[in-house]
């Protein structure tokens, strides 16, 4: 083959390399939830303080459901103060933050709540039913529910102040329309 075509040989590798490079823009753990836009499964749990927590009773409010565990270091430790702050900033505006502690030991979970001085309602999910209903893949995962109880967004990994604000503000604005 005496053509110049041979110089195109290296070009053959370019699409493959480009595809791999494209991979950096994605997070493989970011599995899109099929639950987005669907009503969240109702649940009633007993909080660490003994008070019942029923999702149904929160209809009409924007609800942030956060799945966590005390062994989930560092992500859960990073987001705990953020959630507490968000809860304090928004609680007067019809926003509820709900913590669901999964696969945990009771005393370790209580220590976690104490250490971070969490004041939003928190409950263990003793048989894991709630986390299964929400399709939780790992902790932390956070679901943002609108006033009608539909799941509108899911966040994998530690929630940052910005993530919290963006989603909650959007849902609040949505509800007033």
């Amino acid at each position: 083959m005496k053509t110049r075509w041979r110089w195109l040989l290296p070009l053959a590798a370019v699409p493959v390399l480009a595809l791999l490079a494209y991979g950096f823009r994605l997070n493989p753990r970011d599995v899109p939830s099929p639950l987005i836009g669907r009503p969240a499964a109702a649940f009633t749990l007993t909080g660490f303080d003994g008070a019942p927590i029923a999702l149904e009773a929160l209809r009409g409010k924007v609800v942030v459901v956060n799945f966590w565990a005390s062994w989930c270091y560092p992500a859960c430790y990073e987001e705990a103060p953020v959630l507490e702050q968000g809860w304090r900033a928004y609680r007067d505006r019809d926003v509820v933050v709900l913590g669901v502690d999964i696969q945990d030991r009771d005393e370790a979970a209580r220590k976690f709540i104490r250490d971070f001085a969490l004041t939003f309602p928190n409950a263990p999910d003793p048989d894991g039913k709630v986390s299964v209903d929400f399709g939780v893949y790992g902790v932390p995962e956070t679901f943002f529910l609108d006033r009608d109880g539909r799941i509108r967004a899911k966040h994998v990994g530690a929630v940052t102040a910005e993530v919290f604000r963006t989603h909650v503000d959007a849902l609040l604005a949505d509800g007033t329309r």
């Binding site: 040989l9 590798a13 390399l17 791999l20 991979g23 950096f24 994605l26 493989p28």
Partner: protein
């Protein structure tokens, strides 16, 4: 202080590797021997420094130096001695040190072996080897600093991933990395051949042993990985088409293709371009595998941590692939074949088909592995393909390969006459057909299993025929039968080593077939004193016991075989609770057998030991896979023995 010395050693090694590569290139171009000698010294120093770094890291682990981040994250005060040593390569940073150390070792061996014998190529081999070492040193000193400090220093470390506390983890990474890094040498020779224009057969014959060694270690790494998966992960399987497994399997496929295609070049002066491309492809796939496991681009069960390292790997991969392809294009004219394919029915075409199939298999595995990326890039949907895809595509390919394994070694070169075919294959084919009928009569239901087993018998038949015939020829020389066989095998060790490796592959194929077709399992809850039953085996649940181990709590179930297997034998599956882990780790217990493995996993249990849920499997013929590995080892050793053909 010691960590700083380690970092310094790596930095100096990096500088020396870069210098060595440059000096060797300059020395080769200008013909300056002094520069070449300097490059050699640099390579030796790099190896010494990497050895020191590895030693310092091991020292940090043995002395629990938790001020080193990597140590603190991968060990704790309870980690037993041996696993503190294996923890050295238990995670990303340390595994790179081991990797680079092996590359350094291979470089030194390459210098010793080839400085005199491969004068023209050798400087460029040095350039490539040191260049690759330099790349790994960049990673180790940049994005993945193994000796980085942790402040404040924790009182205890986090501990090794409990799944890695297994003897398989001592040998699996070592074998796998020896395989991965081993392919650097043939690659370096291929590049040297392209740069110097000496693309003849010399580089092929020189690297034959290297390729076999790399291929062997890769095979061993895959097998030990399968063994680890089988007896540690507790799902009773040994292969899952996980991206990381695929990452090691792809270079194995292309490496296998290479082992065969070089024979065509040696014998018939064909396939020069193809062989060079295969070497490049194999090396690129080892890099791709490393990239895959360490970049986090594709989710996998054994993915290492992610980070900037992926970008480095991809860049390096791009440099390697593009440079190699440009060199290939540049030397295009010199790569034409001197021989040509004479007939379709010939050994050449059997080998060619073998190559096409192996590369096609590698391609499908590649395609399946990157498919999630592709589908997301093109359609925006994340879809991954699972085992069904890989099995469906690859099973026919592998069956064809087994068939060719019987045909290739016996069919005539150039053009096979009808007489040649009849003489070599009529017997084995009839044997295979008879075997199929026998297996059918014995009650083997699955057509796939019958086909595989019949093919296996056919191939074994061809090997047997060849050995018998050649031994008989020697008998006529007046040697005793055993002596004749021994001499034959040793004299023609390449050929018979290859046959033994083929036998090993056949044994593995039988194991895979049997385990896929006939394994059974059940999940059941048993009360204390009661029995679990499966496939004629009966186990009695004797109760639970709890024990405190050095770094975890272990709850062990006690099961006695009362029927079917070795009566009285005890199985002790357990659950291990590590404080640093979110969920308990299952500890499988098993009784291995040639025909059946009893395989027991402890699930949920009542704290008082009154009842427990178990998964009870009878896995069939899995042991054949490991036995095949042993046979494969013997064959490789035989093939690597120095050739002594001249003596009569």
């Amino acid at each position: 202080m010691i960590p700083e010395i380690g970092t310094a050693a790596l930095l100096v090694a990096l500088a020396l590797a870069v210098w060595g590569a440059l000096a060797a290139a300059l020395g080769a171009r200008r013909g300056r021997t002094a520069l070449l000698v300097s490059a050699e010294h640099a390579a030796l120093a790099v190896f010494a420094l990497l050895t020191a770094a590895l030693g310092l890291l091991a020292h940090a682990f043995l002395t629990f130096d938790f001020s080193v981040r990597y140590v603190a994250f991968n060990t704790n005060l309870g980690t037993p001695f041996y696993y503190r040593l294996t923890a050295v390569w238990g995670a990303l940073e340390g595994s790179l040190v081991l990797w680079a150390w092996m590359l350094g070792l291979y470089t030194v061996i390459a210098i010793a072996r080839h400085r005199a014998s491969a004068r023209e190529l050798y400087p460029w081999v040095l350039v490539v080897m040191l260049g690759v070492v330099a790349f790994f040193l960049v990673i180790m000193t940049g994005p993945a600093p193994v000796f980085a400090r942790l402040s404040p220093v924790p009182a205890d470390g986090r501990g090794l991933n409990p799944l890695l506390e297994d003897s398989g983890m001592i040998t699996h990474p070592v074998a796998l990395y020896l395989g991965f890094t081993g392919f650097t040498v043939p690659f370096a020779f291929a590049i040297a051949a392209l740069v110097t224009g000496r693309t003849g057969d010399f580089w092929i014959t020189t690297t034959r042993r290297w390729t076999i060694v790399a291929w062997y270690f890769l095979s061993l790494g895959l097998l030990i990985g399968g063994w680890w998966s089988y007896h540690v992960l507790g799902w009773g399987g040994y292969w899952a088409w996980d991206p990381v497994e695929n990452a090691a399997f792809m270079p194995w496929l292309t490496g296998t293709a290479l082992l065969h295609s070089v024979m065509i070049q040696e014998r018939r002066r064909m396939l020069r371009l193809w062989n060079l491309s295969l070497v490049v492809l194999t090396f690129a796939l080892t890099l791709f595998g490393t990239f895959l496991t360490r970049s986090g681009v594709i989710a996998s069960v054994h993915a290492f941590t992610q980070g900037a390292i992926g970008v480095f790997f991809l860049t390096f991969l791009a440099v390697v692939v593009l440079t190699s392809l440009v060199l290939l294009a540049w030397r295009w004219e010199t790569l034409g074949a001197q021989g040509e394919l004479d007939a379709v029915i010939s050994r050449e075409s059997a080998f060619l088909l073998n190559n096409v199939l192996l590369v096609a298999a590698a391609f499908t595995v590649f395609f399946g592995t990157v498919f999630p990326l592709l589908s997301e890039a093109v359609r925006g949907v994340k879809v991954s393909v699972g085992a069904p895809f890989f099995n469906q595509v690859n099973v026919p390919v592998f069956l064809s390969l087994i068939f060719l394994m019987g045909v290739g070694p016996l069919i005539a070169w150039r053009r096979a006459s009808l007489e040649n075919l009849r003489r070599n294959f009529l017997g084995p084919v009839l044997l295979g057909i008879a075997a199929a009928a026998v297996f059918r009569l014995l009650g083997v239901g699955s057509a796939l299993a019958v086909l595989t087993l019949a093919l296996t018998v056919f191939v074994a038949g061809t090997i047997g025929l060849d050995v018998v015939r050649a031994t008989r020829a020697r008998l006529r020389l007046g040697e005793g039968p055993l002596r004749a066989l021994g001499r034959l095998v040793v004299r023609h060790n390449r050929r018979y080593g290859g046959f033994v490796v083929h036998l090993g592959i056949l044994v593995i194929a039988v194991g895979i077939t049997g385990s896929q077709a006939w394994s059974v399992q059940t999940e059941t809850t048993v009360n204390r004193g009661e029995h679990a039953e499966l496939a004629g085996y009966r186990l009695r649940f004797e109760g639970l016991s709890e024990s405190q181990e050095s770094n975890h709590v272990k709850v062990t179930g006690r099961f006695t075989v009362v029927e079917g297997g070795p009566v009285g034998a005890v199985l002790l599956p357990a659950k291990k609770f590590y404080p640093q882990e979110q969920s308990p780790i299952a500890y499988v217990d098993y009784l291995l057998g040639l025909k059946d493995d009893l395989y027991l996993v402890l699930g949920d249990f009542a704290r008082d030991g009154s009842h427990a849920t178990i998964r009870f499997q009878v896995n069939r013929m899995v042991s054949w896979i490991w036995i095949g590995g042993v046979v494969l080892t013997l064959g490789t050793v035989l093939a690597l023995l120095p050739e002594r053909r001249r003596a009569a």
